[in-house]
């Protein structure tokens, strides 16, 4: 691809990302900064609360179809999920569900860029994430829920489960997806388990290319705004398939074939779990 013609999606703010995915001129933000719905918990800890709590929710259209996007802003508190930011995502999904149940299909898109729970709001962040999971599972029966992980933060913690629950998951090479962030693994299991500064190792385990090659993500795109928008549009056109998180027997079988004492390398796993491999 011609680098000069490429417009980075990663470098966009959450608001710009949401605008770029929606059809031109259709972006309408809900509970934007002027709604002044801030974290009630951060000021108690002498942390300045941002007026949108780091989540942009927008209604609009995708190829003329009613849509809603929730985009996480990684520049604010690492895209972490607090009470308000989590509630904004959950509420958007719950309202989309309500419309779908009335027969008015709304296409939901999640732009995930998050370290997971905001520890300053710990249990209320975790509670919101459980509600996001509940909403995705319920909504997915009516309409595909499309997740995008563009990078550079990636998608970790409880929100990695949200990514895994999506009907379709789009990633870039720069993106990472994992339950435990490398720093947390190093803290909990030691540096011999995982050196959190070893970038190539981390990307080989949980980077977008690896997740796509092992069929844990559906689409791998370049960091290009048009390519991402195209991938989202295409995701809504794909024929229905069993969500990954419902393919329990297939993954139990795959897991039985792994010997933890002699585990495959990331490259070998691509052979074992490739998309061509029946799952």
């Amino acid at each position: 691809m011609n680098l000069a013609a490429r417009k980075s999606f990663i470098e966009l703010s959450a608001r710009e990302r949401a605008r770029a995915i929606l059809d031109a001129g259709t972006f309408r933000e809900l509970l934007g900064p002027f709604a002044r719905l801030k974290s009630p918990w951060l000021p108690l800890q002498d942390i300045v609360a941002q007026a949108d709590d780091g989540v942009v929710v927008a209604r609009g259209r995708i190829q003329g179809h009613p849509a809603v996007i929730a985009a996480l802003e990684s520049a604010y508190q690492g895209g972490s999920i607090g009470e308000v930011s989590g509630a904004k995502i959950a509420a958007a999904l719950e309202l989309a569900l309500r419309d779908c149940e009335r027969g008015e299909r709304v296409w939901p898109v999640l732009l995930l860029e998050t370290g997971g729970v905001r520890l300053q709001e710990a249990n209320l962040g975790l509670a919101a994430i459980a509600e996001i999971h509940a909403a995705i599972v319920a909504l997915r029966r009516h309409v595909p829920v499309v997740g995008v992980i563009a990078g550079m933060v990636g998608c970790f913690g409880g929100m990695s489960l949200a990514a895994a629950l999506c009907s379709r998951l789009i990633m870039t090479r720069q993106a990472r997806l994992g339950l435990n962030g490398p720093e947390v693994i190093e803290q909990e299991a030691g540096i011999t388990e995982l050196d959190s500064l070893d970038g190539p190792l981390i990307w080989s385990l949980m980077g977008g290319a690896q997740r796509h090659a092992t069929a844990l993500a559906d689409t791998l795109t370049e960091d290009d705004t048009d390519a991402l928008a195209r991938a989202v549009r295409a995701a809504f056109k794909l024929p229905a398939s069993t969500p990954r998180s419902e393919q329990v027997e297939a993954f139990c079988t795959r897991l039985r074939q792994i010997d933890p004492a002699n585990p495959p390398t990331p490259l070998a796993l691509r052979q074992l779990w490739s998309a061509e491999h029946p799952r």
């Binding site: 997971g116 459980a130 319920a138 994992g178 933890p260």
Partner: protein
């Protein structure tokens, strides 16, 4: 042969107290227990994750939810959904989970998807009309709780030391927030969602029934009887209520502690359609 599970597993203790069975499943690891308990007039499928020093995956030997545990949870929940029963069989997650398993292999093999599959199964059971109850008897931590218990219609908890709910262990949370463990504890006393103890968690409106005066480590017959009675009521309440999680915002505590969660929903609904 697997070594015996750690005897101080509250999860196993309460699982056995309620089911009077070992709950071993032929095609699941010894860390996963699943069996029926008589709760009131009905058989309820109880599921627990317990420690096993001989577990195949070393990072999931001390009560963590690892890859095998999470996928086995998903399978056992879906099996219970397939059992013929009228009304639909209630599911009980006996929760004492230290954390998700932290490891390089776990990440590569997609522990995020494994935990999602377990959460998916519980949520799907709830949506299909199975009452899903979580019984918190020990630790309910982070991704492990999201996979095992947090999709329940009703959360019942023992009011006892060692019943803990949080997003991250104290040590890791201290490092990530650049604070000392002591400073974190002091903050938890002031900032309710940062606390670890179950009473603080209940103050957020996230516990439907808090059972006081029960010996969590050595339950007596009267303790077990009280828990059964609370579970019976929780199952009945779940059957009579919507299958979503909206009840978590309806309690008097939630109206105060989760006022922002409620306000976001009210105001977004008002802005949803073009005025």
């Amino acid at each position: 042969m697997s070594a015996a599970p750690s005897p101080n597993s509250r999860g196993l203790l309460w699982f056995e107290a309620l089911t009077a069975q070992s709950g071993r499943v032929s095609d699941a690891p010894a860390t996963l227990r699943s069996a029926d308990a008589q709760i009131g007039a009905e058989l309820t499928r109880c599921i627990a994750v317990v420690p096993d020093a001989g577990s195949r995956f070393p990072r999931a030997r001390q009560g963590e939810v690892g890859l095998e545990e999470a996928w086995s949870l998903a399978r056992e929940v879906r099996r219970a959904m397939a059992m013929p029963a009228v009304p639909r069989r209630a599911l009980l997650a006996v929760v004492d989970v230290a954390s998700q398993a932290y490891g390089r292999l776990e990440e590569m093999l997609g522990i995020h998807l494994a935990c999602a599959a377990a959460a998916d199964a519980y949520a799907s059971a709830r949506l299909a009309g199975h009452p899903v109850i979580a019984l918190l008897v020990g630790r309910a931590m982070s991704g492990a709780f999201l996979a095992h218990g947090y999709q329940a219609n009703r959360i019942v908890a023992l009011d006892a030391p060692g019943v803990l709910v949080h997003a991250m262990s104290e040590e890791a949370a201290a490092r990530v927030t650049r604070r000392t463990v002591e400073a974190l504890r002091l903050l938890g006393e002031r900032i309710t969602p940062m606390a670890y103890d179950v009473r603080s968690f209940a103050r957020l409106g996230l516990v439907d029934v808090l059972i006081t005066g029960v010996n969590a480590d050595a339950p007596q017959p009267q303790d077990v009887a009280r828990v059964r009675s609370a579970l019976e009521h929780a199952i009945a309440a779940a059957r009579a209520a919507p299958a979503d999680l909206s009840n978590r915002r309806h309690s008097p505590q939630a109206r105060v502690s989760r006022a922002a969660s409620i306000e976001v929903r009210t105001r977004m609904a008002a802005e949803w359609d073009v005025p």
